[in-house]
Symmetry: C2
Subunit: 329 residues, 2 copies
C-alpha cells in the first residue's frame, strides 16, 4: 500500500509528522510505502534523524497552505503546496490514501475538487469516531457541510453505516438522528423531514438521539447537519478540557491532593486513554473517491501514527467500494 502524508500540515509539522511516519513503519507488519510532501531539504533534515527510513520517499513541494487562507482559493492557487501535491497523488493513483493535519477547510475542499466525490454522493462528510461508554460512535457530519438538506443526512447515514460495518465489524449499526427531543415530531424542519426519510431507508434506524445520550455508545452512527455536529464536537472538547484542567489544578494545589492524585494515577491513565483524540487517529472524510484522513491540527507523532493506521484499515476494508455499492443500489 502507498500512503501520502502532508508533511507540512498541522502545528507540529514537519518534525512530529515525520516521526509519526517513522513510528508507523517501525511497528507495522504490512508492506507500506510512505510519501511525505514538503520542502525537500526540510523533510530530509527530519528524516536523517532516524535509521529506519527506507520506505519513505520525499515528494518536493515548496508551498504550504495555512489555516488562515480561504480554502478554495488556496487549493486553486498553491499548486506546489504539500497538500495539493498529496491530493493529486491520490487522484492519479500514485497513492492509496492521504493523511493531513493541515487546514480542515482546505483539505475538504481539495479532496472534493481534486480527488472528487463518489458517484451519487451529493456532499462528502467529516465523520470522527468518538469514545462512548459501550464503544465508539461516529458523528457525521462534523463540519464539512452547513445548511444540509434531508437527503444529505440520509447519505451521511448510509456512508456511516458502510464505514462502521467494514472498519468496526459491526453489522447493521444503529443509526440515530441528532435532535432536541426523542419524539418523532420534535426538532426543526430539517430533522422532521430527515426523520421521515431515514425511517424509510434500509438501515437500523434508532430514531432521534439527544446529544446527552450520544456518549452512551448505544447508537453507532449519529447523523447531523455539519453546523450542529461541529458545535457538539467543540462543546465536548471545551467541557472536557475545562474539567481535566480543573482536576489537574486541584491535584497540584496541596501536598495532600498531590498524594491523592498519585494514588489515582491508574484511573487517570485509563481516562487519558479513553478520552485521548490521538488514540482514535484522525477523522475519516467520507464520500470522496479516495481514502482521506484529517488528522487533528495539534497532532503529535502518536496521533499521526494512529491516523496512518486508520487509513490502512479504511483501505484494507474497502470502505470506498462499500459506499459505491451502497449508492449504486
Amino acid at each position: 500500500m502507498k500512503i501520502v502524508v502532508d508533511g507540512m500540515g498541522g502545528d507540529n509539522s514537519p518534525c512530529e509528522i515525520v516521526k509519526g511516519c517513522i513510528d508507523f513503519l517501525t511497528e507495522s507488519k504490512k508492506e507500506v510505502h510512505i510519501y511525505i510532501t514538503g520542502p525537500q531539504k526540510k523533510i530530509e533534515e527530519e528524516l536523517e534523524k532516524y535509521q529506519n527510513n527506507n520506505n519513505i520517499t520525499i515528494v518536493d513541494a515548496s508551498e504550504v497552505i495555512s489555516c488562515n487562507e480561504p480554502p478554495a482559493m488556496a487549493i486553486r492557487k498553491k499548486k506546489d503546496s504539500s497538500m495539493v501535491k498529496a491530493l493529486r497523488m491520490v487522484r492519479d493513483g500514485e497513492a492509496d490514501a492521504i493523511i493531513s493535519a493541515g487546514s480542515t477547510g482546505a483539505l475538504l475542499t481539495g479532496a472534493t475538487l481534486i480527488i472528487g466525490r463518489i458517484k451519487g454522493i451529493k456532499r462528502a462528510a467529516l465523520a470522527p469516531l468518538m469514545p462512548g461508554e459501550k464503544g465508539p460512535f461516529m458523528l457525521i457530519d462534523c463540519g464539512a457541510n452547513v445548511d444540509c438538506k434531508p437527503e444529505n443526512l440520509v447519505q451521511f447515514a448510509l456512508m456511516g453505516k458502510a464505514y462502521f460495518e467494514s472498519v468496526m465489524n459491526i453489522s447493521d449499526p444503529k443509526v440515530g438522528l441528532v435532535n432536541i427531543g426523542s419524539e418523532e415530531e420534535k426538532g426543526n424542519e430539517l430533522t422532521k423531514e430527515s426523520y421521515k426519510l431515514l425511517k424509510e431507508e434500509n438501515i437500523n434506524f434508532y430514531g432521534n438521539i439527544e446529544p446527552r445520550d450520544m456518549v452512551s455508545g448505544d447508537v453507532q452512527v449519529i447523523v447531523a447537519d455539519g453546523f450542529v455536529g461541529n458545535t457538539i464536537l467543540k462543546a465536548i472538547e471545551g467541557v472536557s478540557s475545562l474539567i481535566f484542567g480543573r482536576l489537574k489544578e486541584g491535584i497540584y494545589s496541596s501536598f495532600k491532593t498531590k498524594i491523592g492524585g498519585a494514588l489515582l494515577k491508574p484511573v487517570f491513565s485509563q481516562f487519558k486513554k479513553d478520552f485521548d483524540y490521538r488514540e482514535y487517529g484522525g477523522t475519516p472524510f467520507l464520500g470522496v473517491k479516495g481514502v482521506c484522513i484529517k488528522a487533528h491540527g495539534s497532532s503529535d507523532a502518536k496521533a499521526i501514527k494512529n491516523a496512518i493506521k486508520q487509513s490502512v484499515l479504511f483501505y484494507d476494508k474497502k470502505v470506498i467500494d462499500k459506499i459505491k455499492t451502497e449508492f449504486e443500489k
Copy 2:
C-alpha cells in the same frame, strides 16, 4: 413579593418542591409570600411536615401536565392544572413570578400564550447561566425556538444583555455568536446574516465564538438558534456526566484509589459546586411579560430554593422593565 411555584412539576414533586419553598423562606430576609399550586390535600400533607409554613398559601389545582403531553394541547385543555393555574396568577397580577420544574415545552408555550410576550419581542428564549472559567455565561436560546431568523438572534442578544446588566451587574457584557469558526464569513446562512446585524447593534459584539471557547467565560452572552443551543447544552451535560461517572467508578475500584479519592475530596467538592446545575437555580425564560423560571426536571429542594432566589433577583433588578425599555428604542 408574591411568588407562585408549580407544586406538581418535575420528578420530585411535590415533596422536594414544598421543601424548597420552606428552605427559601427560612433563609430569606425579604418579605415573600409563596403560593404553591397543586391538589390541596397532597400539598397540605407535605406542608404539615414543617413548622415555618406561615407564608405559604396552597392554590388548589386538580390536574397535572406531564412531560409526554403535546405542550399546546395540554395548556389549552388542562385549565385546572398546577402549571396553568400558576401562569394565570402571574397574568392576573396575583403573583410576581412563577417557578416550575414541569414540562419545558408546556411552560414555554403556556408562558407565551397566557402571560404573553413583551411588546416588540418576536420570540421569547430560554437562557440558562452556565459555569465558565472566569465567571458564568448565558447561552440564549437553548431550545424554546428552532429555525430562528437573524432578527430573533439579535433580540436574544439584547435580552441577554439586559439580564446580564441587571442581575449580574456587568455593564455592557460581551455578546458572542455561536459559530463553527471565528472569522466573519464562517458558518451557515443564519450566522452569516446574524453576524452582519449584530455588528450594527448597540452591543459589545465580540464576534463568532466556537463552543470550545465558551467555557472560558470571556464572553457573557452567547446567542444561538435554539436547536443549536439545546444540542450544545445537552452535549455538555452528557460529557460531564460521563467523565464524573467514570471518575467515581475509578475511585471505587480499589482500596488504593479509594484513599486517593478521599484525599482529593476538597477538589471534588469544589467541582461539584462549580458544575452543579442546582447552584444556578433555574433557567430564566426571557421575553415574556412576567418573571418565569424553568427549574430542572430533576430539581431537588436545593435547586428549587435557588430557583426561587433567582426569581427574586430577576424581579428586584427589574429585568423585564429593562427589556421593555430596550425594545421601545
